[in-house]
């Protein structure tokens, strides 16, 4: 547990800029005399348009979610609700041969991506129970869960002069899940014939339910993939531009369980014959079994959740310059995000910035960041792209990143 936390804290960095050789102002993180560069990055992001950081924290780290916390989230529900989470630690080593204009790199990435789209009634059913729906059905439309956990080992080439780079990686699936529930209602039938109304039926009308799941044992046992990552930089007048992509490729998943169903499931209590023992022991597991559709196992290709990114860095105006970053991760249900960092240049590499962000699941947020030299050859970038959740538990978006560049 502690080791895990230490790793999480240690590996916090901005995935939007994973393995970038560029600093905040677009300059290179190494100089002409550098022979090696070690780049360690970690980022943790939790974004939602409804769920607070406090509730997300209690999900991951435990604790009692109070009625008022549940209520605050409930007040924010607006029909289409989302959550997206990401944890992305990575380490890269780049070697520049003396006298050569390029270098070679080797990188390790671990990426944990989660997105969840859920209906208001699913939240109410989950956190309040079906007593909220005794008079009318719970509508469970447009619900989806995506989880993709993978690690990669990449080998790449770097143009020493421009920092443009290119990596080819082999990917190992750790876990993959896609679950979709649509056009579904859950009705709790009430018997009002006597003095005490009580539930006598639960009716689940499933429009569509589908799931695809594959989880891993050993390395490459549940899936192997290949992907490309890289960045290309160019300059027009005094403005710099960086175009990049991460994890552009596909993965072949083995032994993926695929299930889908639709129909009506009626539950009127478990049939019990006298003397058979209590059926209450496994009410829920039996219910789950009876609702679970028949599955099939297959091997299939899926696209990696590639991240497309583009940056613009303006010329300086006094001590300030602007940096605009846009990013969009494919295939996971994430939304595009655009940030504009107003950066104040300090001496040497050092800089601080404030960064309004639009898009994503949170629509609008503000970030703060800093870049500074710790030792002569060590650079650190740290901050948050979503500050509201960091300072306020009721905030719905939180992120922290940390990048350490060590020149040798």
């Amino acid at each position: 547990m502690r080791l895990g936390l230490i790793l999480i804290l240690f590996f916090l960095a901005d995935a939007a800029w994973s393995q970038s050789f560029f600093l905040q102002d677009g300059s290179l993180s190494y100089d002409s005399s550098s022979t090696s560069v070690i780049n360690i990055e970690v980022q943790r992001i939790d974004q939602s348009n409804a769920i607070s950081r406090e509730m997300i924290g209690k999900f991951f780290f435990g604790g009692h979610i109070s009625d008022s916390e549940k209520g605050n989230v409930r007040d924010r529900l607006d029909g289409e609700n989302y959550y997206g989470g990401e944890l992305s630690p990575s380490i890269n080593y780049t070697f520049f041969q003396p006298g050569k204009s390029s270098g070679w790199s080797v990188s390790y990435h671990y990426r944990n991506l989660n997105t969840l789209a859920f209906a208001d009634d699913l939240y109410t059913l989950f956190f309040y129970g079906n007593n909220e729906f005794l008079e009318e059905p719970a509508f469970l439309n447009e619900n989806s869960l995506r989880i993709f956990n993978y690690q990669s080992l990449s080998f790449g080439w770097v143009d020493k002069k421009t920092g443009s780079n290119f990596r080819v990686g082999v990917y190992d699936n750790r876990s993959f899940s896609e679950i979709d529930i649509n056009q579904t209602t859950l009705t709790t039938g009430i018997n009002n014939s006597g003095p005490y109304p009580f539930a006598d039926e639960i009716l689940l009308q499933a429009g569509t339910y589908s799931s695809r799941q594959s989880s891993s044992g050993g390395i490459f046992s549940s899936g192997i993939g290949f992907g490309l990552s890289g960045e290309y930089t160019f300059q027009i007048d005094q403005s710099r531009f960086i175009l990049g992509v991460d994890d552009f490729g596909a993965m072949h998943l083995n032994n993926m369980e695929e299930r889908d169903t639709s129909g009506v499931f009626e539950y009127r209590g478990f049939e019990w014959e006298v003397g058979e023992g209590s059926p209450l022991n496994d009410v829920f597991s039996t219910l789950e079994d009876s609702l679970s559709p028949n599955g099939r196992v297959l091997n299939t290709w899926v696209f990696l959740p590639a991240l497309l990114k583009a940056s613009y860095i303006s010329p300086d105006f006094g001590k300030f310059y602007l940096r605009a970053d846009g990013s969009y991760r494919l295939n996971m249900g994430f939304r595009p995000e655009l940030g504009l960092a107003i950066t104040y240049r300090l001496e040497n590499y050092n800089a601080v910035w404030v960064r309004p962000v639009v898009g994503g699941f949170n629509d609008f947020s503000v970030g703060l960041g800093a870049q500074f030299a710790v030792f002569n050859n060590t650079l650190v970038r740290a901050g948050s792209n979503h500050l509201f959740g960091v300072v306020d538990g009721e905030g719905t978006a939180t992120s922290l990143f940390l990048q350490i560049v060590q020149k040798l």
């Binding site: 936390l5 014939s193 006598d200 539950y267 003397g275």
Partner: protein, 526 residues
């Protein structure tokens, strides 16, 4: 440098605080859910064991106790005991004999007479048993021991068996101990002449095996042989099976009788069908000296008085169709008009005792040796007691227990159980639900938690309409915690007909449908 060191210390401090402070505890929140839990339908067949009930054409249910009071099989009539042939061989006074390979130098024919059998058998089929061959030889060469029984056949082939008596010496004779399976052999027991009874011929011989060189037998050599019919059990016999008299004194216990001792059943409609059956191909004459009802708890005993007691009952021989006997039967219907059956049943017997005798072939060998007995043959006396459930129940008590294993549960704050019933029984049922732990200590009597002081009663039907009712039980956190330690739930239904006319009929179509639903306020944890 000082600044960096201070910053490092701060970072380390923050890490330590975060690591220690982020101790994982369960994630939890409060929920409130309602759901039906158990759906059951109880009929009289669910409450009383099926084997104790029967349904008439009018759906009226009767209590039925059926028990075999006597059951004698073929082994009670014919028993074949072990029988042995012993013989020995030597060449004295000849001093020496040279025997070539393949040459037989001794053979013998003998008749086994099953004298122990108290019958004149013409035929017997062996269900189980063997022929044991035991021999010793001091001849210095292997000897082949052959046994042949021409009139013992299986699938049309006569019994034949060969075994080697190993070479021996005077100081260390060769020993043979083998047995041959006789299962399924059909023995013609009419002897060599074909007109005798309980006899069979056996031929046996000694030969030098083909693989041996010449064997020299000296005057001092001896071969001893024993052939034994061992452990014979018969599946079929035919002949005259004798005129034996068998006395019997048997006791049969009832099993799984429901606790009816507080119910007032209408015994005037009860009947006892006493059935005696003869599955042997022999005429039988039986006499019942007494039939006694016994309640082992109260010690009460009543002898049945009926004209059958003390009378001789003649039973014709069974007929044989395709090797299967068709028994002849006599049945006697005993009720309150021709016996003391009401007194007999009022002791609520848990066993019946029967004493009597049965005589085989009371008129001699009138079948001319054509009696038979097979493995399916038996002499049986069966008692079938039927009490129609047309009764006045002051207190018909039915109990059941169910094992419970709740497993790991979330923290439940309050639960309201609803017991919804629909009954077509024309009797009210008072329900008692006790939850006990592994040591049978009562943890909760659920009926103590009924809301609004309602009685714990499932009301019976009125007229042809079913009666519906809902009882609610509210359990708090303490009671739910006690419930989580439960290992069994005892359910007791006490049927009362005090609100109904004199006699109430219980029909196979009568049911109590029960739905248990729950409303649970719980702290969900994971």
């Amino acid at each position: 440098m000082t600044y960096i060191s201070r910053m490092q210390r701060v970072v380390v401090f923050i890490l330590v605080v975060l690591v220690l402070g982020c101790k994982k505890e369960p994630t939890s929140w409060n929920t409130s859910n309602s759901a039906p839990l158990i759906n059951t339908s109880l009929g009289v067949y669910d409450l009383i064991e099926d084997s104790l009930l029967s349904t008439g054409d009018d759906n009226l249910v009767s209590l039925v106790y059926s028990n075999e009071l006597i059951n004698f099989g073929v082994d009670s009539l014919v028993e074949v005991e072990e029988d042995t042939i012993s013989n020995s061989f030597n060449i004295f006074p000849v001093s020496e004999l040279e025997v070539n390979p393949g040459q037989q130098f001794f053979n013998q024919s003998e008749v086994i007479d099953f004298e122990q059998v108290d019958a004149a058998l013409r035929r017997a089929v062996i269900a189980e048993g063997s022929l044991s061959l035991n021999a010793t030889s001091d001849i210095e060469g292997d000897i082949l021991f052959k046994v042949f029984i021409p009139r013992a056949t299986r699938n049309g082939i006569s019994f034949e068996y060969e075994a080697i008596i190993p070479a021996g010496s005077l100081s260390a004779p060769g020993v043979l101990n083998e047995s041959a399976n006789l299962e399924g052999y059909d023995l013609d027991l009419t002897g060599i002449s074909g007109t005798a009874f309980s006899e069979i011929e056996i031929l046996y011989s000694l030969t030098v095996p083909e693989y041996e060189d010449n064997v020299t037998v000296f005057s001092f050599n001896e071969v001893s042989m024993e052939i034994t019919f061992d452990g014979l059990e018969l599946s079929f016999v035919e002949g005259f099976l004798g005129s034996e008299v068998i006395e019997f004194n048997e006791k049969a216990f009832f099993e799984s009788i429901p606790e009816l001792n507080e119910a007032i059943l209408n015994l005037s409609e009860a009947s006892l069908d006493l059935s005696i059956s003869n599955g042997f191909g022999i005429d039988l004459q039986t006499t019942l000296f007494s039939v006694k009802a016994d309640n082992s708890i109260t010690g009460n005993q009543v002898d049945l008085t009926h004209s059958i007691i003390g009378s001789s009952i003649n039973l014709n021989r069974a007929e044989l169709h395709e090797q299967t006997p068709t028994p002849s039967e006599k049945s006697f219907l005993i009720d309150h008009t021709n016996s003391n059956l009401i007194d007999f049943l009022e002791v609520i017997p848990d066993s019946l005792s029967i004493q009597g005798r049965v005589e085989l072939n009371p008129f001699g060998n009138i079948s001319n040796y054509n009696d038979f007995a097979s493995a399916q043959s038996s002499f049986k006396c069966t008692a079938n007691l039927e009490i129609p459930l047309r009764a006045s129940f002051s207190n018909l008590l039915l109990r059941d227990s169910s094992n419970v294993d709740w497993g790991e549960e979330n923290q439940i704050q309050k639960t309201t159980f609803y017991l919804y019933s629909r009954s077509t029984f024309r009797a009210d049922a008072t329900i008692d639900l006790r939850v006990v732990d592994e040591s049978n200590n009562v943890l909760i009597n659920l009926t103590d938690y009924i809301l609004d002081d309602l009685p714990p009663v499932i009301p019976g039907a009125t007229g042809s309409m079913q009666e519906t009712n809902t009882i609610a039980f509210e359990l708090g956190e303490t009671e739910m915690e006690a419930l989580s330690r439960a290992s069994q739930i005892f359910t007791e239904l006490r049927f009362e007909t005090t609100n109904y006319p004199d006699l109430v009929e219980i029909r196979s179509t009568d049911r109590i449908d029960i739905l248990i639903s729950a409303e649970v306020d719980a702290q969900f944890e994971f």
